[in-house]
Amino acid sequence: MNSLLKFITCGSVDDGKSTLIGHMLYDAKLLFADQERALELDSKVGSREGQIDYSLLLDGLMAEREQGITIDVAYRYFTTELRSFIVADTPGHEEYTRNMAVGASFADLAVILVDATKGILVQTRRHARICALMGIRHFVFAVNKMDLIQFNEKAYIKIEKDIKKLAIDLDLQHVEVIPVSATEGDNVTLKSTNMPWYQRKTLLQYLETVNVESSEEEAGFVMPVQRVCRPNHTFRGFQGQIESGSVAVGDEITVLPSGEKAVVQTVLMTDKNVSEAHKGNPVTIQLNREIDVSRGCVLVKDAGLIVSNMFTASILWMDDAELVRGKNFIAKIGTKSIPATIMDIKYKIDINSGEQLAATKLYKNEIAVCDIALSEEVVYDTFKSHKGLGAFILIDRVSHMTSACGVVEHSLRRSENLTWQEMDITRDVRAAKMGQKPLTLWFTGLSGSGKSTLANELEKALSLRGKYTMLLDGDNVRMGLNSNLGFDEEDRIENIRRIAEVSKLMNDAGLIVLTSFISPYQSDRERAKDIIGRDNFVEIYVSTPLEECERRDVKGLYKKARAGKIPNFTGISSPYEPPVSADVVIDTSKQTLEEAVSMLLEKLESYL
């Protein structure tokens, strides 16, 4: 029975990561016969002229086989006499950085491939930076393709020097450099006869013997509570995995964030009573008295954790949508899920050069240092002190995507919470919180053309998509805000002006506004556009012909107008000026309601 080492392989696209691991499994006789047979068969159609292509063992997804690249993390398992290994083979492409970070978050050690014919590339730096960010402390740089530079020692030494410099730049802690050939097998599992000048361990030997237990780690007892176990009213235990240190029956522990103290009465290591338990063990702890403990609390002894509602963190942004400050998420830190807001993007870090750059927005695969506020005080620590309490993810509140991952750099105390005062809550901030772009969807058209029915249905559809909306129409405007206005020209202009101003305010509040008014004059609509802002204004012309509107005559208004009972009735005794460049035109006599709504949604996609 031996220990477990989790490691990750990374490097640029053609550095040969999959080949290296494939070769290791093959050499170490760790393949099943049928896998080996399949590999040999697959290789015949491959490009290495019938020679074995070891990478085929790992590139499992169909899309990957087609494109010849690795798009997601693949996990492989092997055991030697000395150790059990789990290796995460990760994609090299910048586009899939987030998948690489997934592999890195899981690993204790990184094997980073460097192509000997190319030396250190920007990708090498990026990967090393991400590994360090995600908490890896042990690095092996495998200088690959030594066969292509004739196993030249001088060339190798130059690369080794560059690697040592990189390690200093990135503050990497434990670094080993090994010259290898993944395709030929030199220094993979067997010592290379082509490089007698290299006398240290082969890659596999190194992996089998390296000690990744951290000595810098905090020794105090820490256990985040996952759940409360209450099978009956006589038993109440707190379940979780010990994050660090150890706990024994009789220990006095503190519950955070409350700070209440109690004595450990029993410790169950899964289903067995034990006198003490250690780091890594799943336990159930009973205390000697009833105190308030729930999921998200942390039991500690001799450990200095932080209780606060704000911290500064390095984050990796992973969502397709961009990040702006003010955006709100669910943060998961320790075993606590809690609303969190990005207060400030302090700066982003050039993933390749490490340079600090000013930023107001973050795009996919970018790293930045941010101030993050939580809706209440929680227990956490810096990532350096306790990996399990300093690592967090940010979950989008609408799509539920894991939008970012991050590590706590340091806490911000209440007295330091100045950022909020400095920051204005702008339209962008409010909109970002709602996860939408505020728009005014301006429906115009004759009475009876179907504006209100359409606006109503569209609002329902938007609401179903998680959008926050408001519908303005004659009923809720004419009777309240505009009850003092009549129907002459002056009042009609004022009517539209007020509607436009209200729409703008509601857009400022982050809402998507739908307005449904005849608004017959081109000049009024232009003014509304100016008030609301042309970028946020979508003009929807409901072009149903007059004859059809008159035939429908839902409210009997056309009949009255024809009889001369309503003066200035649009279409009969007053003109309607059709928009010259409406964003969308809908004729409800030719389209069904469903067709019209789905067409609108499609058009709106580019705005939303």
Partner: protein, 300 residues
């Protein structure tokens, strides 16, 4: 970390952490139970994870009606002994139509397993389902997350998986969507056997070699579990000492000739195994990529 903390301890702790997370965060979980050795390990882990409480969710078996008889007996005994709720679901409509593994080939697996599973999950409205899938079983499984998001039609999108960092599992879903959760993702077949031996976990006797009535068919050894197995011309029933490395529907599950009738002997055989376990599962013999295709459609 204690000095004697082995790789099995690490795997056990990881699985228990995952199982507890689901119980704490997911609205309506269920643990799928296929009766095989991986399910037996998962059940054992669930019992340990919540002790002294019983697992706070039901277990569910998708019964194709073609499972080995010994499996069904074992399932019912386990439910009784462990005091857990065991739901059994069968696609009754397909049974009424006479869908069977002989005449309907790969459609059979789809209808009786994949479709039945979807029907069952929809029927009970489960929001999270534990499965015993392991990443070392097949290449596309090797790439699946531990918390694997499924849309409202239970489909998996391998190109757009949620990033999964550290132990921070994202369990958030919208109505109609669900999670498949694989707590033993990182276990190998060898780990499973070693853990069964260490924890003395009860498993279906079919895993142990015993003289059984079998026929040889297309390179597989098929057990004649009842008289529904139609013999083809030239086939005859023989008595051989065989055991099974995976369990499923008996007409689709190939055995291996073996005399390993103890756990130690099985572990010994497994360590020196020449074929990875999935080759004895008949449906996995199709072209490379077939498992990924099936999974995208909702197969576990």
């Amino acid at each position: 970390m204690a000095d004697n903390y082995t790789h099995l301890d690490a795997l056990e702790a990881e699985a228990i952490y995952i199982i507890r997370e689901v119980a704490a965060e997911c609205e309506k979980p269920v643990m799928l139970y296929s009766i095989g050795k991986d399910s037996s390990v998962m059940l054992h882990l669930a019992m340990k994870a919540f002790y002294p409480e019983k697992p706070p969710f039901p277990f569910m078996h998708i019964d194709t009606t073609w499972k080995f008889h010994e499996m069904i007996e074992f399932r019912d005994r386990m439910a009784r002994e462990k005091g857990i709720e065991m739901l059994v679901y069968t696609n009754e409509e397909a049974v009424a139509q006479g869908i069977n593994p002989f005449d309907h080939g790969s459609a059979y697996t789809d209808i009786m397993k994949t479709q039945a599973l979807k029907q069952a999950l929809d029927k009970y409205g489960f929001t999270a389902a534990f499965g015993g899938g392991r990443r070392d079983e097949e290449k596309s499984r090797a790439k699946e997350r531990i918390f694997s998001f499924r849309n409202a039609s239970h489909a998996w999108d391998p190109k757009n998986q949620r990033p999964e960092m550290w132990k921070q599992y994202n369990t958030q879903i919208n109505k109609g969507e669900s999670m498949r959760v694989f707590p033993i993702s990182n276990w190998t077949e060898k780990d499973i056997w070693q853990y069964i031996a260490r924890e003395k976990i009860d498993i279906v006797p079919l895993y142990f070699a015993k003289e059984r009535p079998v026929v040889y068919r297309d390179g597989n050894i098929i057990m004649v579990d009842d008289d529904r197995l139609r013999l083809l011309p030239g086939e005859k029933v023989e008595y051989k000492s065989v055991r099974f490395r995976t369990l499923g529907c008996y007409p689709l599950t190939g055995g291996v000739e073996s005399t390993a009738d103890t756990l130690e002997a099985i572990v010994e055989e497994t360590l020196g195994a020449v074929n990875s376990e999935r080759t004895s599962r008949v449906i996995d013999h199709e072209a490379a990529g077939s498992m990924e295709r099936r999974k995208r459609e909702g197969y576990f």
